[in-house]
């Protein structure tokens, strides 16, 4: 997507969605990012290995981004242009962002934007913005895992299809308009068979997430979302899923709280305009901020496991997932995190997630977990990198970590990356996560109560309005009578 186009379109979605606060910010950020991204891109392309997080050149560019996005989870979306750059930006810990050094200023904003985006992604499964350096249509590892998890919740067999009606119900929850969903389907269902395979589903999900974040829908399916590309990029869906599970557990928890924070704080930063992700985004921003990220991570971790746990149980066919206990824990966390998120941010995705969570625990949890997982992954970019490259080792590590998500994730990341920050963040994350989960629960219950009160008041209001009308009519009738009687009385 050209920058200009994105910029232009950026404005439109915001209008359409009315997103509210974040979108205007995002727009500016986005534009800023775009320009910067271009610069960064050039720099990055030249020296992709500069950033510590950058994954080995053998992996697709998005891997590089993944570490960044992973750390920041949400930044992914932002970094659309310069994946490597955003990573760098995102990883304040890591720092040495060589390639994007050219635009240090831009990085932080990008970082935030990507964080925001990644958050939103976490929040809403759909938000996963790909970290395509050229455009936001690349799917990061975290996002992919999240999508795959969601797919499994709908269809246990990853190699089979999701029928049209099932997918329709699922995507309708995203609260996008039907024409937009229809268009997204048109883009993603490459073979027009009325069913979605896993790559098609990931593409559709990603488009929805992008749309929710305010990105205008592309004219054609981006090359990074096409089936062949996705199949090539993610050859081991199972592994990814497994990783994802571990991720999601840790990630969703982390991401959710992070998103919330980020969105609120850095709605602007995140390029991802997804309304829902705003929450995630905010959390992402936090990550970007590094200090906040650390806090967020622990929170997310705790949340992720909860969400994950929620997600895991539903799909029976899923490979060895984190312990069910973790799942339940995650579920709780995710729910809490999920609920507060939507109300604050965007009704679209947030509601999608939250409402669904309560109604469809597995799905909702999946999303938040996914979000979290990606966010966590983003934060622990190093870990992420490890994942693609050394899946087996990372997996067992993750598994272990799951029970202690906050700790494990951090450890994992720290080991993988050896980032000092990650280690430090591990501890605070754990604590933060717990707190955030509790807060989330409280917030969620408060939200429910408020909603009920709103409903009651609305009913009361309508009844009173009717009474007012009746009284008004009576008054008119009486006045008429009075007029008629007046001459008599006068006489």
């Amino acid at each position: 997507m050209s920058k200009t186009d994105a910029e232009i379109r950026f404005g439109n979605p915001t209008e359409l969605h009315g997103t509210k606060v974040q979108i205007p910010y995002l727009i500016t950020e986005k534009n800023a990012f775009k320009r910067m991204d271009d610069e960064d891109k050039q720099q990055e392309t030249q020296s992709p290995t500069m950033s510590p997080l950058a994954s080995p050149p053998s992996s697709p560019p998005h891997y590089q981004r993944v570490p960044l996005s992973h750390a920041y989870g949400k930044l992914r979306s932002n970094t659309e242009q310069m994946h490597p750059a955003p990573y760098e930006a995102r990883q304040p810990l890591v720092q040495p962002e060589g390639p994007s050094s050219g635009a240090p200023g831009t990085k932080p904003p990008r970082h935030q934007a990507s964080l925001i985006r990644s958050f939103s992604v976490e929040r809403e499964p759909q938000d996963n913005n790909s970290n395509y350096p050229d455009e936001p249509w690349r799917i990061t590892e975290e996002q992919r895992e999240y999508y795959v998890n969601q797919f499994r919740s709908l269809q246990p067999d990853p190699s089979s299809f999701i029928s049209g009606s099932v997918a329709k119900n699922f995507f309708t929850k995203s609260k996008l308009s039907i024409p937009e969903l229809s268009y997204i389907w048109e883009l993603s269902d490459a073979d027009c068979d009325g069913a979605l395979t896993l790559p098609e589903f990931c593409a559709a999900f990603h488009l929805i997430v992008a749309r929710k974040n305010g990105y205008p829908l592309p004219e054609g399916l981006p090359p990074t979302l096409q089936t062949e590309y996705l199949q090539a990029a993610f050859p081991k869906p199972k592994r990814e899923c497994a990783l994802f599970d571990s991720y999601s557990e840790s990630m969703p928890a982390n991401q959710q709280p992070r998103d919330l924070n980020r969105m609120e704080k850095l709605s602007v930063k995140d390029m991802a305009d997804f309304p829902v992700p705003t929450q995630d985004v905010t959390s992402d921003d936090k990550q970007g901020l590094k200090s906040t990220a650390d806090e967020a991570l622990p929170k997310d971790v705790s949340e992720d496991p909860a969400t994950k746990s929620g997600l895991l149980p539903p799909p029976p066919a899923l490979p060895p997932r984190p312990c069910p206990s973790q799942i339940s824990h995650l579920r709780v966390n995710s729910k809490r995190s999920a609920q507060p998120r939507p109300p604050t941010q965007l009704p679209n995705y947030g509601d999608f997630r939250l409402q669904k969570q309560s109604e469809q625990a597995p799905e909702a949890e999946l999303h938040p977990q996914l979000n979290r997982a990606p966010s966590q992954a983003a934060e622990t970019s190093p870990a992420k990198k490890d994942i693609p490259y050394s899946q087996p080792p990372s997996k067992p590590i993750r598994r272990k970590f799951r029970p202690e998500n906050p700790a494990t994730e951090n450890q994992d990341t720290s080991t993988a990356v050896g980032g000092p920050a990650s280690a430090a963040t591990v501890k605070p994350h754990a604590a933060v996560q717990k707190q955030s989960s509790k807060q989330k629960k409280a917030i969620q219950t408060a939200i429910r109560k408020n909603k009920e009160a709103n409903a009651v008041l609305a009913r009361l209001n309508s009844e009173l309005q009717q009474q007012l009308k009746e009284v008004h009519q009576e008054r008119i009738a009486l006045e008429n009578q009075l007029e008629q009687l007046r001459p008599v009385t006068v006489l």
Partner: protein, 139 residues
């Protein structure tokens, strides 16, 4: 190249109608509308035979001095009507058939979209692009 392409639902209301912009679109709408009678006539005539043998392509419905109108009906009674310029003599029957076949394929793709409710107006961009490729290129 067609000058106007229309997709009519079973209940004879338009699902999609597009004309070359330079022409008076209302005229084309009217032509399509009048052609529906001819389509129904052909369907009923063929309907006496086995429905399975009914061919989808109806052929030239009626010619006017400026235009020719071709028709095509699917098994679900969705009608495609195409208006072509009479001066375009290079257009052969086979080409018209292939154009209808492409239209039909695009239409089935639209139907496969679970978000499309049968009976809604067709807003699919893929379908639009297919029709555009068949429409006369008016500068």
């Amino acid at each position: 190249m067609a000058v106007c392409v229309a997709v009519i639902a079973k209940e004879n209301y338009p699902l999609y109608i597009r004309s070359a912009p330079t022409e008076n679109e209302l005229k084309f709408h009217y032509m399509v509308h009048t052609s529906l009678d001819v389509v129904d006539e052909k369907i009923s005539a063929m309907g006496k035979a086995l429905v399975d043998q009914r061919e989808l392509y109806l052929g030239l419905l009626y010619p006017t001095e400026d235009y020719k109108v071709y028709g095509y009906v699917t098994n679900s009674k969705v009608k495609f009507v195409m208006v072509v310029d009479s001066s375009n003599t290079a257009l052969r029957d086979n080409e018209i058939r292939s154009m209808f076949r492409k239209l039909h394929n695009s239409y089935t793709d639209v139907m496969c979209n679970p978000f499309y409710n049968p009976g809604d107006r067709i807003q699919s961009r893929a379908f639009d692009s297919t029709v555009t490729s068949m429409m006369i290129q008016v500068c």
